[in-house]
Symmetry: C2
Subunit: 639 residues, 2 copies
């Protein structure tokens, strides 16, 4: 935290933060034991690993795709995080094997994209707009940094430094350099991480260059297209807003285009702004953040509502059955939120981060860790996708474009780094999860232990343990969904509202080893409504308890979920049944519905409105589609 940066805090690294029990520990365990091995197998089976051997020859089947390298990258990154928390010889051996292949695939000048080495070598760096070369580099850089930090092994880091140096020589504003940037952002945030890992400021400068060059005129993608002999006007996506290069990034104020690209760009912008003290760039991030979270985000934290371009559409356009909400986009939103939070300690960032994590992110993977959703819809009638072009309403083993599964794996494996931040003069607690954070505060080590059954139960117990008594602050996020939080230190109540600052209860006092903080976060089931301009949610509510968004499934509620109505005064009960998802709380209520069986055969008739009582049972959204195919609905009609 140099004087010139905008950082108010920094995340605790995985060496200093542990999740040892509860909700996320279970998800991380499934990730390590099921998802990571499966993803390796899929990469192996589909040729993504062996492609690094550069043995593919023209005319052979299955040519290495332009973004295959990114799959290896994200998988190695995920393994690295997992190793940081949980040594695993077999995973490490597999990762070392892939890293050896990557090292050998590097070209003498440092270049490292499989496709443009063996399939179209003459086209290297000729189509940044569409070809993901720098994107692939970014994911490999993130992998290298993570693997180095987790294992201390430098091999991949050295390889990627050489590649980054090659990129640094190739791109820039100077004579003889290409004045380009990637059509799929990612390298910007990766280069900042490489700077942190190596201390080499030129990587930070290159990240800043990529960000500031974006969208300038004359437009690089025009120039580049003409150089290829293409007409820039024939761009498949018509407008450069698809890749956020329709204007210089500092002038952008609405989130446009491909949502994953946007989220990665904004994350990179936030990191560069924070690190370089660039308040103007941070302001652009804040504008974009507001546009996303106040106008273009699903209740489950998904973003990018349109599958036509996997993109943002327009304010308040959040269709449920037609939703896209790519898993990777929700993950990118977590990245963006986490970065914004470090410069602006406002619980709104952590609220969104939590909303996405517990809902639209982990819905992307089955409870057994073996199957994946690319898109995360909020309503399903199973046959509809066959006639609407929507993706399958069942999770899949893998995808041709397999960005989401390893993205999920790396996020889940790195979750402990999202829980705490260390500020200048205290500890920040953003998420609640059983585990431990180790801080350096006031020149000494301070450990904070958490014990909680969050998000199912409302109590969080924290033990603060400085080596010796000292005055500092412990900032506890009071979630935006929570009303009436209670706080006590060593059994003595503290009026939370008196110490609240931007959503954090900041307890400043002399702490001594063994001090106990008890946080109570009441979790009644809430009926949530959406802004009146969200046309698809009008007259509907979503059920939310704590950070968990619920949904109805056909197997619990019968067919025609849209015909169910939750009366305004219907009591909502929370029930636990060990046989259902191992005892995750479900919500029940007495609803009403029309009697389809007595309706007769007419398709239309004068309204009669007669309804009958119908039980309603809602399960957490993230757990849907784990019990077979059926209807699903998040936004329930309310009476």
């Amino acid at each position: 935290m140099g004087e010139t940066t905008l950082y108010r805090m920094r995340p605790l690294s995985l060496k200093r933060s542990r999740i040892t029990g509860g909700f996320w520990a279970e998800r991380m365990e499934v990730n390590r034991k099921a998802t990571l091995p499966i993803e390796y197998e899929q990469c192996k089976k589909t040729g993504r690993i062996d492609a690094w051997k550069l043995e593919w020859k023209p005319g052979q089947p299955n040519p290495p795709h332009i973004f295959w390298g990114s799959d290896s990258g994200k998988w190695i990154e995920a393994v690295a995080y997992s190793l940081a928390a949980h040594p695993d010889k077999e995973l490490e051996r597999l990762a070392d094997g892939v890293i050896d292949l990557i090292e050998k695939a590097q070209q003498p000048d440092g270049y490292l994209n499989i496709h443009f080495t063996v399939v179209e070598p003459e086209k290297r760096w000729t189509n940044l707009r569409d070809c993901h070369e720098l994107y692939g580099a970014g994911h490999l850089i993130e992998a290298a940094v993570a693997y180095y930090e987790a294992t201390g092994k430098r091999k991949l880091l050295d390889v990627l430094c050489r590649y980054a140096d090659h990129i640094d020589r190739t791109f820039g504003p100077n004579e003889g350099q290409k004045r380009g940037y990637c059509g799929h952002e990612e390298i910007e945030l990766a280069l900042v991480r490489l700077y942190y890992a190596t201390g080499e400021k030129r990587y930070l400068d290159l990240a800043r260059y990529f960000i500031d060059e974006r969208g300038r005129q004359p437009h690089y993608f025009d120039i580049e297209a003409r150089q290829r002999g293409d007409d820039p006007k024939k761009y498949r996506w018509a407008s450069y807003d698809y890749n956020q290069s329709h204007a210089p990034v500092r002038e952008q104020s609405t989130a446009e285009g491909h949502a994953v690209r946007a989220g990665y760009l904004y994350s990179g912008m936030a990191s560069v702004a924070a690190e370089t003290g660039d308040r103007e760039l941070l302001k652009a991030c804040q504008r974009l953040w507001k546009n996303i979270t106040l106008r273009r985000m699903y209740i489950h934290g998904g973003i990018g509502s349109s599958r036509f371009g996997e993109r943002f559409s327009y304010d308040y356009d959040l269709p449920n059955e037609e939703a896209y909400a790519e898993t990777c986009a929700a993950i990118a939103l977590v990245f963006f939120a986490h970065r914004m939070l470090q410069t602006d300690p406002d619980a709104r960032y952590a609220d969104v981060m939590e909303r996405a994590l517990y809902n639209g992110v982990i819905s992307g993977v089955s409870l057994d860790g073996k199957q994946f959703f690319y898109d995360n819809v909020l309503a399903v009638d199973p046959p509809y996708h066959k006639f609407s072009g929507q993706k399958s309403p069942q999770r899949q083993d893998w995808f041709g474009c397999a960005c989401c599964p390893p993205n999920l794996a790396r996020l889940l494996a790195s979750l402990p780094s999202y829980v705490y931040s260390q500020g200048k003069d205290g500890a920040w607690i953003h998420l609640y999860a059983t585990g431990r954070g180790e801080f350096e505060i006031a020149g000494q080590a301070v450990a904070i232990e958490q014990r909680t059954d969050y998000p199912w139960k409302e109590k969080v117990l924290l033990t603060v343990a400085p080596e010796k008594p000292a005055v500092f602050s412990v900032a506890l996020r009071i979630p935006g969904w929570c009303r009436g939080a209670k706080l006590a230190v060593n059994g003595k109540p503290i009026k939370a509202s008196a110490v609240m600052k931007k959503g954090y209860a900041i307890v400043r006092r002399e702490w001594k080893a063994g001090d106990r903080v008890e946080l109570t976060l009441p979790m009644p089931v809430e009926r949530i409504e959406a802004h009146p301009r969200v046309r698809h949610d009008a007259g509907r509510i979503a059920l939310q308890r704590g950070p968990i968004v619920y949904c109805l499934e056909e197997m619990d509620n019968g067919k025609n979920l849209n015909d169910l109505v939750l009366p305004r005064r219907a009591k909502l009960r929370v029930k636990v049944n060990r046989r259902l998802f191992g005892g995750i709380p479900v919500i029940t209520a007495k609803g009403r519905r029309r009697d389809a069986a007595r309706w007769g055969e007419n398709l239309y008739r004068p309204v009669s409105s007669r309804t009958k009582s119908a039980p309603i049972k809602a399960v957490p959204y993230f757990a849907w589609a784990n019990r077979g195919l059926g209807e699903m609905l998040v936004w329930l009609r309310c009476g």
Copy 2:
């Protein structure tokens, strides 16, 4: 009506039926004065007319498309109907000019498709599945029959008889013939009309052959594809249900695939069944009719909900914003309904015919007759189509695939033939419109005059005028939407329910010249609900008055139409304002909505449900999008 047919009645021809005032007269006048000339201009401008000169040479731009001939055909057919009611020298001169070109384009063997004469002559009859050759022939045949009947001129009829003879030689079950049928049905119903016009039974036989051959194994489209060297499995639409050849037509019981093709096929089936006394085939028609009208039809009479394949999807799947509901498909449903009605005097057929005509058919053309909708959605948020792949929410001047505009023109011009049928022993009145029907009953001429302001006003006055007093029946349709219809003859009330048979009040008595029938069809505004399984309409109602379905437009109700609620007890008022659509009745009510301005900036929040009063104004659906771009909504939330 031979002994072997299933006909119970026959439509009055355009020579015997006139519409002289009121709603349809106005629409027909706009059709004649604006639409028909514009369509000629568009056909001329886009090369569709001059293409008949066969002057196109390889390498030249704008090669004649496989279905261009059908546009000329439908336009000539429309002109013919228009001439039948209203001589128009200029239109007749233009039509004669096109007919001269068509005659000269005919090949020595009778063949008559422009594309396969000048662009790909070697591919004639090699791809019936995709290439619309017989479809084009069908439309030209319909044109020829209509023009002959309207003007007595035989030129086009003779040309098309030669073409039909060529087709009859080419296709069939005999040695040396192709055992094929068209991927886009149309010729089946056209051949029956050609049989009626010429008395040549082989045309009827050929129609029956095409119908019965469809879907048989070994499948002709497989055979044909292999003959072309194509893999039948690589069919773009995956399944032959797209063109209703997935099974023999007699075995089909759900309406599948491309909705226009389906509607034309079923119309052809109904005609062949009726004419040949084929009860099994008629039963298949009845099953398909039920499936469509009880499970797959929009409230505006549109069918084919999915734009992916312009097709039927599955039971009760009727999305509003994502609707397709092609104008041509609603027209095809009118054809099908009209044919079914002649064999089965049940008002349900006429009810559907009327529903489509007043709503989802004429919504396809602007009130000034100059612009057209291809699809007829039931909800619009204007920016959405840019991000959803939906078509424009504004009517267009023309389309590359221009099937809908001339289809509308021919239907509107022929409307008088849908009003009356002549039965063995009486007159049938299906639709209410000011005008006159001339029947032959009991060996004498019987004229029936109608005077009405239907569908806006509830009175219909009829004068029955036989040459001399005679006993026969006059059957008056009591629309399915109507409750409490009142009937009087010469001022003396008749209990309608006592003479009702399948939705028709059948008044059998001795009629004498000047007898007056007064029919009163009460038209309160109705709130209509959809079947509980129509998930998109749950909790919503549509406003309907008489046969007219209403909708809300943004210019009358402000933005966020989905946030408006019509309370259960809100009074619905009918108002007429001369300045709005020339005095078409609109519906007003006091609704409620949330106050978006006071909502604050959050996107989601715990429900508060506070609403404020908001006026609601609904206009006829067919009149929407005539006052600029804005939101539109048919299914309104109800409290």
